[in-house]
Amino acid sequence: MKPLSKVYLLLTGLVAFSGSWVHAAEVNLYTTREPVLMQPLLKEFSQKTGVKVNTVFIKDGLLERVKAEGRRSPADVMLTVDFGNLVDLVESGLTQRVDSKILNKSIPGNLRAANGHWYALSMRARAVYVSKDRVPLSAISYEDLANPKWKGKICIRSGSHPYNTGLIAAYIAHHGEKEAETWLRGVKANLARPASGGDRDVARDILGKICDIGVANTYYVGTMRTGDAEQQRWGNAINVVLPRFKNGGTHVNVSGAVVSKYAPNRKEAVQLLEFLASDHAQAIYAKSDFEYPVKPGVKIDPIIASFGKLKVDSIRLSDIARHRKTANLLVDKVQFNH
């Protein structure tokens, strides 16, 4: 073991310090956004600006990590999906105000914090997938998902997943807690299988005749229909309907960014945000990630465009965010996941 332990020591040293070299122009990115999606964008940013991007992809606990690192945190930019996460970061005092004319011009007012603490960079709609063969359906409301005619026919992922939390919170914002509870019980009664799995499983389970319709995000359809043969089978088994609230529009969620409060590379951080909001980067979001660009005028991918015109719900995301806690308590209360 003697010579080996020396190797161990050497290796510990190497591994331990490989992450903390300091380069000239660089920006440190903490992201809960899938790296597969971010890599092409970040590569391009580095090529264009010469700024090196160091990334760490984290799932849960981004907030806790940055909090523990405190004023010595190397984090410059934090990218997350779900507006709830953005609001949480701001409310924990981990972000700073960004005052960029470019960002304020590119991103519509309802898709950024009024005080400049967070900016949405892409948008997706909570859609309904419908079996191509078995269900002729061209329009549906979220309210209708609780209609008993769908008994045993609906697939959906866990009610505690942020995408569903957002939807339920939006329902509360529209109809109040009491009606939302009744609705959620109705949807639960209509489920074909326990609320679990991911959004793509909805398409797969529709193909497998486990259910006829299901709730899932729009961009998955793009990735499935352009994926390998198996994925294409799933993606082509369904049609997509953009549901609306009876008194509103379609529920959307966003991915977005904040600049961290103690960002050591503030200038590069803002530079990265501005790049991600540029026409070029927004087009990549639309083309390779199949998301709705936040910047007006950037073209939507044809697959996504084929779902019809997106009428974004009128209630502001920051107002919906207030109901997230209640939404989660409801999910437990109606035993949605059991």
Binding site: S5, Y8, L11, T12, V15, A16, F17, S18, G19, S20, N28, E34, P35, V36, L37, N54, T55, V56, F57, I58, K59, D60, G61, E64, R65, A68, E69, G70, R72, S73, P74, S158, S160, P162, R193, P194, S196, G197, G198, D199, R200, R204, D205, G208, K209, I210, Y220, D228, E230, Q231, R233, R324, K325, N328, L329, D332, K333, Q335, N337, H338
Partner: protein
């Protein structure tokens, strides 16, 4: 027999210090839990705890019973009988260790899906339509019991098999001569004698089960651990989540104490001399074939099927998207981290348990094993909180006293990762080394002492060599566990660093695990290395 001359002070102090370090994350969690209020508990007790507690108990009970059946049954087959193919089964039964729970879950969801190969084949054979055809749903607590058991049973197999191999021939022969049939020998003599080993193996299995997040989430099983997560993530209420985690920790500690009390009065110490080992009974013909097939079932379900599935998926993936350049680096990182962490975890476990040997108190061993009973991410948060405080204190000192700006020295480096692995898997090291020590009779210590050896000599020249088999099997389990570890790694790793598990997660995070098939296959392949090493070593010691 507490013996004054045996008190080994430096070792005792070291052991105390290590125990304290191992407890830091738990202490931080207790502190966090105390910050919270009890507001949410009314909701939790009314809606969350009862159903999740029931589902968690069913899962634990099912997995416990099934892993004991598979683990001890297969261990008995390969130790009590001699037949063609036994040598192969002997090591093949370890293979499922290399398959992480989240991978087996994803494989079987895929294979058993209505549009997957199994159901399609059945339907075509029977000429039925999808909706006419009923098939058990893998996405259920029963599916979870089935899948988890078939990848976790090696923990029981490994510990029990070692015990069966050590069993003295005389006991078995007496039982046989008294007219017990082979299965009676197994149930009434071998099983009760192996109880400590079964308990060690099963408790590892149960803790892996209760802390599992990947597979249970896939399968839609609502466990207590998931409710910790949803309280933390969805309610943004870390304090309450910490309270549930501590509550779960207390339940587990209680169960472990009950089991220990249950066998307090029984003594299992082997005699100091090496007794004649139980000879394997030669079997031929159809009985041999039956035994072989029986032994092959767990290997097939726990390894061969998911492994073949991964091979097929990886092949498709390489055809479609090529081989990711990051995978090589990720493999190197994984191997390096797992090796260092294994080395440290074994060393720390050895110090803590041997201190217990000299001082005759097992408190340190018990307390420092707690990390295994806490879900990975939660433990990681506990570590971030405690280590973060230490980190800032050190950096403050350098900054304000010496005027040097060091930045953070621990958080966001590999040090933290190795630390969390060590805390998480120390229980494996301690459990295994402890049961190894149980087989070293105290007479040997006295003899060595009388022969003029000092305590350090006894430790390194008597105990350490005798503990080798126990250490090797613990090292295997720890290595494989470090390699598969996902939640803590994901949260704590440095910038720009991926392991195979995080790479798999990154590639699969957008919806389907097919995208991560190559990384998954690599995890299994790298995991095979120590499994095969262990198999070879244990063959030599037979």
């Amino acid at each position: 027999m507490p013996n004054k001359k045996f008190a080994f002070r430096p070792l005792f102090s070291l052991s105390g210090l290590l125990t304290l370090l191992a407890c830091l994350p738990v202490l931080a969690l207790v502190w966090t839990a105390l910050q919270g209020n009890s507001e949410i508990w009314q909701h939790l007790i009314r809606y969350v705890i009862p159903p999740t507690l029931v589902e968690t108990s069913v899962l634990l009970l099912g997995v416990g019973v099934l892993t004991i059946l598979i683990g001890t049954g297969s261990a008995w087959i390969v130790t009590a009988y001699q037949f063609r193919g036994r040598a192969f089964l002997d090591w093949a039964l370890l293979l499922p260790l290399a398959v992480p729970t989240y991978i087996i879950a994803y494989s079987y969801i895929d294979i058993l899906h209505p549009i997957g190969p199994v159901q399609s084949l059945f339907r075509e054979g029977l000429g039925l339509d999808m909706q006419q055809f009923w098939f058990p749903n893998i996405r259920s607590v029963w599916g979870g019991i089935f899948l988890l058991s078939f990848v976790l049973y090696p923990y029981v197999y490994l510990s029990t098999r070692a015990m069966f191999l050590m069993q003295s021939a005389s006991l078995i022969e007496v039982a046989r001569s008294l007219g017990l049939k082979p299965n009676q020998v197994f149930l009434r003599v071998a099983m009760p004698l192996a109880r400590p080993a079964i308990a060690v193996g099963t408790s590892l299995v149960l803790m892996e089960t209760i802390n599992d997040i990947g597979a249970t989430e896939f399968l839609g099983i609502r466990t207590l651990t998931l409710s910790i997560y949803s309280t933390w993530i969805n309610q943004s209420d870390l304090a309450s989540a910490a309270q549930i985690a501590i509550f779960m920790l207390m339940i587990i500690t209680f169960l472990v104490i009950v089991e220990r009390l249950g066998r307090r009065k029984q003594r299992y110490m082997n005699s100091a001399q090496r007794s004649r080992l139980m000879p394997a009974q030669p079997v031929t013909g159809s009985r041999a074939l039956t035994l072989f097939v029986l032994g092959l079932i767990p290997v097939t379900i726990g390894f061969l099927i998911p492994f073949s599935h991964l091979l097929v998926e990886s092949y498709k993936r390489i055809q479609y998207a090529g081989f990711s350049e990051y995978l090589l680096q990720a493999s190197i990182n994984t191997l390096t981290l797992a090796s260092i962490a294994t080395f440290i975890t074994i060393l720390v476990g050895f110090f803590i348990v041997s201190a217990a040997r000299f001082s005759r108190t097992t408190w340190f061993s018990r307390i420092s094993s707690l990390g295994y009973a806490i879900p990975g991410t939660v433990l990681a948060i506990g570590l971030m909180l405690s280590l973060g405080a230490l980190d800032h204190a050190v950096a403050d000192f350098f900054e304000f006293q010496l005027g040097i700006s060091t930045g953070l020295l621990f958080l966001g480096t590999s040090f933290t990762l190795i630390y969390v692995y060590a805390v998480r898997f120390l229980a494996i090291s301690i459990g295994s080394i402890e049961s190894g020590y149980n087989r070293i009779h105290a007479v040997l210590d006295d003899a060595a002492c009388n022969l003029g050896q000092n305590k350090r000599d006894i430790l390194w020249r008597v105990h350490f060599p005798l503990l080798r088999p126990a250490i090797i099997s613990a090292a295997l389990l720890i290595f494989v566990d470090c390699m598969k570890e996902l939640p803590a790694t994901l949260l704590l790793r440095p910038l720009n660093m991926e392991t195979l598990a995080t790479q798999l997660y990154a590639e699969a995070s957008r919806g389907t695990y097919e995208d991560g098939a190559i990384a998954a296959l690599l995890i299994v392949l790298v995991g095979l290395i120590p499994v095969i090493l262990l198999a070879r070593m244990s063959k030599n010691s037979r």
